[in-house]
Amino acid sequence: MDVSLIIFPGANCDKDTSLAIKHITGKHPKHVWYKETTLPKSDLVILPGGFSHGDYLRSGAIAAKAPIIKDLIKKSADGIYVLGICNGFQILTECGLLQGSLIKNNSLKFVSRNVRLRVIRNDTIFTSNFKENEDVNMPIAHHDGNFYIDDNSLKKIEEEGRVAFRYIENNAKHSPYNPNGSLNDIAGVYNENFKILGLMPHPERAIDKITGGDHGAKIFESMFHSLSQ
C-alpha cells in the first residue's frame, strides 16, 4: 500500500499520523509538501489534522487552494482513496471533495475530549476491520467540528448510507455527548462512491492502549488490509 501524507504549513498532526501508519504498516508514508503539483504514486492520500495556514480566513479554506489539491481532485476522480482527519476533513469540504461544511462548535469553544462513536457500516475500505455498528472511543480536539449541510443533501447522505461515524451517548455528565452540535450527530462522512472519508475524531491518537485506547488503529488496519490485497 502506497500512502502519501500532504503537509500544509501549520499542520500539526502529520507526525502522529505518520507514526500511526508506520506502526500499522511498518512503513512511513511519503510526505508531500503543499506546494508540489503532482502526487507521487499512491493508493491512499491522507490530509492530516492541525491548523493549516493558521486556520486564518476559515478552517481549511486556504489549504483548499494549495497547488497539490488540484492534483488530488484529479486523482480522486481516477479512483484514488482519500482520508481527511479533522483539519483534513475541513479541507476536503472546502475543496469540494466532500459535501457540507464544518462550522464553529455550538459551544463556540475548542473542545478536546474522548468521544463515543458508532461505526455505521463496515463494508468500506476504512472500516472493514470493525464490526457493523461497533461502538468505539476516540479523541477529538477541534474548534470547528459542527457538520452542517442543507436539508436535502443531508437527507440524501442519510439515504445513501454515507454517514461513517456518529457521536453516541457516553454516560458523561455535565457535557453533551455530541461535542459540537453537528447535524444528526455526524462525526464522519463518505463521498458518493465511499472512496473519500472525512472525520473529526483523531484515529492516529488512538492506536495504543497506554495512551488512552487503540480503537483508532482499526481504521488504519482496515485500510492496510483492504489496500494491500
Binding site: P9, G10, N12, C13, K15, D16, L19, A20, G50, F51, H53, G54, D55, Y56, S107, K109, F110, V111, S112, R113, P139, A141, H143, K173, H174, S175, P176, H202, E204, R205, I207, D208, I210, T211, G212
Partner: protein, 733 residues
C-alpha cells in the same frame, strides 16, 4: 535628561545618575528607552537578584541551571528535558486572551531556542473571587487564549491548576510552563562569539505592539490600568509553528553559534543578553529589520515586543543554508548586524547612530537592591466555629467549592492528546507524557497553595515544593528538578519583601532535602492594584521520570474490593484549610508545616510500593484533606469506597472537632493507596520497614461513598457536586 523623562521611563533619581555615570554622557531618546526596559524590574530582577542566588540549583541531574533561556536536566538515554515556567500576569489582566496566549508562545520559544521540541505545556492560573464582576470574563479569555495558542502550535496541555481568591481581583496570575526534549549533545545556548559573525533576525515582522510591556509589568495597577492595552502583545501561533519547525530544522545543521528568543524588552534584551553572556559587543542596523509597518522609529523597534521573533549568531558559511530553510517555511530571515569586540551595543538606523551603550552598564551593572524586609507574624490560633450542617452537606459543599471543584470546563479547551503520547489526563496526580520511542515517561505537575503562603511564607513555599514532589511521586515517577514562578506584590513594601525572602528560604530547604533543584524560573513583582497585593504565590513546576511505563500509577485504577490504606498518619491540622474556608469562611491559623525528612521517606515508600506493584491506585492528600482525596478517586473512577474510622470516633460523634480534623485536616506528606487484599500484608510490611504509619481505613466498593455510621453519598451525587460548578457559572447548556 530632565526629571520628567526618566520618571516616565520608570527610573528614579539615583538610577538616572547611575545611567549618566555608565554612559558617560546624556542619553539619546533610544538609549533612554533601552535603559528603561533593561533596568525594569522585569528584566533586571533588581529587587530579587540578591536573594535568588540562595536557591538550590545543583545536582548531578542538572545540565543547565538558571540563567539560560530554560533549565536542562539529564533524563537518560542521551536525552535531556528542557523546561521553564514564566508569568504573563500583567498583560493577561489587561487583555486576557492575548496576554495568556503570548505567555504560552513566549515560554515555548524559550524551550525550542535551546534545541528542544516542546512536548508538553502546563499552566497555573489564579483568578479573583468567583463572584467578582470581572472573573468570568478573565477566566474565559485567559483559557481561550492558552488553548488558542497551544492547540494551534500542536503541543498538548497536560496538567495545571486553577485557583480563585479575592486577593487576585485586581491582578490575575497566568503562569505557563513548557517542557521539551532534546539530544543531550545538541543543546543551544545564548552566548554570542566570533567577531564579525552575522547577527540574524528570524520570525515575524516587527510592529508597534508591546512597547514598554516590560516596564508595564514592573509597576502596580490602578483604576486606569486598562489604558495600558497597547502594551499587550498580539500572538500569532501559526507563525510560531513555522518558526519552531524552521529553527529545529536548522538546528540539525552545524550552523548556529548562539540563539536567543525575543521576549520581554524584545530586540534590546536579546541583543544585550547574547553580547553580555559572550563578553562581546554587538552592532545592529535597523534598516534591515523586517517591519510590519512604515515609519517605525529606532526607539520603537528596539522596544517592540512583537512576538514570534528570534535572534541568532550564525557561522558565516552557513548563512545561505539557513536562509533557504527559513524561506521554505515562509518565515522572515534577515542579517541585521554583526558581533564586535567593543563590548558595546551600537544601534544604527538610516546612517545615524541611535545608541551606543556599554553592555555591562545595561546588564551586570544594572541596579540591584537589597530592600528592607519585615517578617509576617504568624497567628496560630483558630477562632472557635460551630456549624449545624450535616457531614453530607459539608462534603458536597466542599466538592462544590471553586478551589476544589472539577476544572474540566477549563482543560477541555486545551488539546491534551496531540502528539499521541499523553497518558494521564488533567485531574489526576500529575500529567504523564510518554517520551517518543521509549518506554519512559515524564511526570509533570505545577503547584502552590497561596492561602498557606499568605499565613506563613516559609512553610508555604516548602509545601509548594513538597506537594509538587508528592504529585510526581504519586504517579510512580522519580522527581528530578523544578522550575518556579515567584508572584508577589510590591517589593518596596517590607512585608512583601519579607515574604519573598522567606519563600526563597523555604524553596531552598525543600529542594535540598528532596534533591529537587531549581533549574529555571521567573519573578513577577508588583502584582498589586490600588495598594492591594496578591497572596504570595510561588508556583512550583516539577518534572519527574517514570523509568518504565509498566510501573506507573494513577488515581482511578482501583478495583472493587481493594483495601484502602492511609499512609502518613491521621489528619489534625485545620489551619488555613479548605474546610474552614468553605464552611466557616475563615482564613485563620498557621499553614501546615512539612517535615521534609518525613516527606522524603514517605515518598520513597510510595515509589517502592508502586515499583513492587503492591498498589492499584495512589492519590496524595492535599486541599480538602482525606475525604476530598477519596472523593476525587471515586469521581475519577466512578467506583465508590467505604471508610471506617478505626478509633471509634464515630461513636463519640459529639466530638465533631476531632472528626473534622481526621476527615479534612491538611497535614502534609500523606497519601491514600488502594491495595488488593492479597497484597495488604506485603504493603504493611514495607510501611513498617520504612517506619511509616499505615492505617487501613476501608475498602473500595461500587456505588457510593459510605463513611461508617455517619453518611452515605452516591457516586452520582459526588460527581454532580464536583462537576457542575464551572459549567453552571459559565452558563453551559
Amino acid at each position: 535628561m530632565n526629571k520628567e523623562d526618566y520618571i516616565q521611563h520608570g527610573l528614579n533619581e539615583k538610577e538616572a545618575e547611575k545611567l549618566l555615570e555608565g554612559l558617560g554622557r546624556e542619553p539619546t531618546i533610544t538609549e533612554m528607552g533601552i535603559y528603561s526596559v533593561m533596568w525594569s524590574e522585569h528584566c533586571s530582577y533588581k529587587s530579587s537578584r540578591h536573594w535568588l542566588k540562595n536557591l538550590h540549583t545543583q545536582g548531578k541531574q542538572v545540565i543547565q541551571g538558571p540563567g539560560e533561556n530554560a533549565g536542562v536536566v539529564d533524563i537518560g538515554d542521551g536525552l535531556a528535558a528542557v523546561f521553564k515556567m514564566e508569568s504573563h500576569n500583567h498583560p493577561s489582566f489587561i487583555e486576557p486572551y492575548q496576554g495568556a496566549a503570548t505567555g504560552v508562545g513566549g515560554i515555548m520559544r524559550d524551550i525550542f531556542t535551546m534545541g528542544a521540541r516542546p512536548i508538553a505545556l502546563l499552566n497555573s492560573l489564579r483568578f479573583g473571587d468567583i463572584n467578582h464582576k470581572k472573573t468570568k470574563y478573565l477566566l474565559s479569555g485567559a483559557v481561550s487564549g492558552i488553548g488558542g495558542y497551544g492547540n494551534c502550535v500542536g503541543v498538548p496541555t497536560v496538567a495545571g491548576e486553577v485557583g480563585f481568591d479575592k486577593s487576585y481581583n485586581g491582578n490575575i496570575l497566568v503562569n505557563a510552563m513548557c517542557v521539551g526534549i532534546a539530544n543531550i549533545n545538541k543543546i543551544f545556548y545564548s552566548a554570542a562569539s566570533g567577531i564579525d559573525n552575522p547577527v540574524v533576525y528570524v520570525g515575524a515582522k516587527t510592529g508597534r505592539d508591546g512597547i514598554h510591556g516590560a516596564t508595564m509589568a514592573s509597576g502596580e495597577f490602578d483604576k486606569d490600568s486598562e489604558k495600558n492595552r497597547p502594551t499587550v502583545q498580539v500572538g500569532d501561533p501559526f507563525t510560531e509553528k513555522l518558526l519552531l519547525e524552521a529553527c529545529l530544522e536548522l538546528m540539525k545543521e552545524d550552523a548556529i553559534i548562539a540563539i536567543q528568543d525575543m521576549g520581554a524588552a524584545g530586540l534590546t534584551s536579546s541583543a544585550v543578553e547574547m553580547a553580555s553572556k559572550g563578553s562581546v559587543g554587538i552592532e545592529l542596523c535597523l534598516d534591515e529589520l523586517p517591519k510590519r509597518e512604515e515609519n517605525l522609529s529606532a526607539y520603537e523597534m528596539m522596544l517592540s515586543e512583537s512576538q514570534e521573533r528570534m535572534l541568532m549568531v550564525l557561522k558565516p558559511n552557513k548563512k545561505k543554508l539557513a536562509e533557504e530553510i527559513f524561506l521554505k517555511w515562509g518565515v522572515d530571515f534577515s542579517v541585521i548586524g554583526k558581533i564586535t569586540d567593543t563590548k558595546k551595543i551600537k544601534v544604527i538606523y538610516k546612517d545615524k547612530v541611535e545608541a551606543n551603550i556599554p553592555i555591562c552598564s545595561l546588564a551586570d551593572d544594572a541596579p540591584m537592591y537589597v530592600r528592607p524586609i519585615k517578617t509576617r507574624k504568624v497567628d496560630k490560633n483558630l477562632t472557635p466555629q460551630k456549624t449545624n450542617i450535616s457531614f453530607k452537606e459539608i462534603i458536597l459543599k466542599i466538592l462544590n467549592s471553586p478551589n476544589i471543584c472539577s476544572k474540566k470546563w477549563v482543560w477541555e479547551q486545551y488539546d491534551r492528546t496531540i502528539m499521541a503520547n499523553t497518558i494521564d489526563k488533567p485531574g489526576g496526580n500529575a500529567g504523564i507524557v510518554r517520551i517518543e520511542g521509549t518506554d519512559k515517561a515524564l511526570s509533570l505537575s505545577c503547584d502552590v497553595t497561596p492561602r498557606y503562603c499568605h499565613a506563613n511564607a516559609y512553610e508555604g513555599a516548602k509545601q509548594a515544593v513538597a506537594e509538587c514532589w508528592r504529585n510526581i511521586v504519586s504517579t510512580g515517577a522519580k522527581p528530578i528538578a523544578i522550575t518556579n514562578c515567584l508572584n508577589f506584590g510590591n517589593p518596596e513594601k517590607p512585608i512583601i519583601m519579607g515574604d519573598f525572602v522567606s519563600t526563597i528560604n523555604g524553596i531552598r530547604d525543600a529542594s535540598i532535602t528532596l534533591d529537587f533543584p531549581v533549574v529555571s524560573g521567573n519573578v513577577s513583582l508588583y502584582n498589586e492594584t490600588d495598594s492591594v497585593a496578591i497572596k504570595p504565590t510561588p508556583t512550583i513546576g516539577g518534572l519527574g521520570i517514570i523509568e518504565d511505563l509498566k510501573n506507573l500509577s494513577t488515581i482511578h485504577t482501583q478495583k472493587d474490593g481493594d483495601i484502602i490504606i492511609l499512609i502518613g498518619g491521621n489528619g489534625k491540622h485545620l489551619g488555613r484549610s479548605i474546610f474552614r474556608e468553605v464552611i466557616f469562611n475563615a482564613e485563620d491559623g498557621d499553614a501546615p508545616s512539612v517535615n521534609l525528612n518525613n516527606e522524603l521517606n514517605n515518598g520513597n515508600l510510595i515509589l517502592n510500593l508502586i515499583k513492587n506493584k503492591f498498589v492499584n491506585s495512589v492519590h496524595d492528600i492535599s486541599d480538602g484533606g482525606l475525604i476530598v482525596t477519596i472523593a476525587e478517586m471515586i469521581i475519577s473512577s466512578n467506583i465508590g469506597a467505604k471508610i471506617t474510622f478505626q478509633n471509634n470516633l464515630i461513636n463519640s460523634t459529639s466530638d465533631h472537632e476531632k472528626l473534622y480534623e481526621e476527615m479534612f485536616g491538611e497535614d502534609q506528606s500523606r497519601y491514600v493507596i488502594t491495595v488488593s487484599s492479597d497484597k495488604v500484608q506485603d504493603t504493611i510490611n514495607q510501611c513498617t520497614k520504612y517506619d511509616v504509619s499505615a492505617n487501613i481505613i476501608g475498602n473500595v466498593q461500587k456505588n457510593n461513598l459510605e463513611i461508617d455510621g455517619l453518611v452515605t453519598i452516591s457516586n452520582n451525587e459526588l460527581i454532580d457536586s464536583y462537576e457542575s460548578v464551572l459549567p453552571s457559572m459559565m452558563n453551559i447548556k
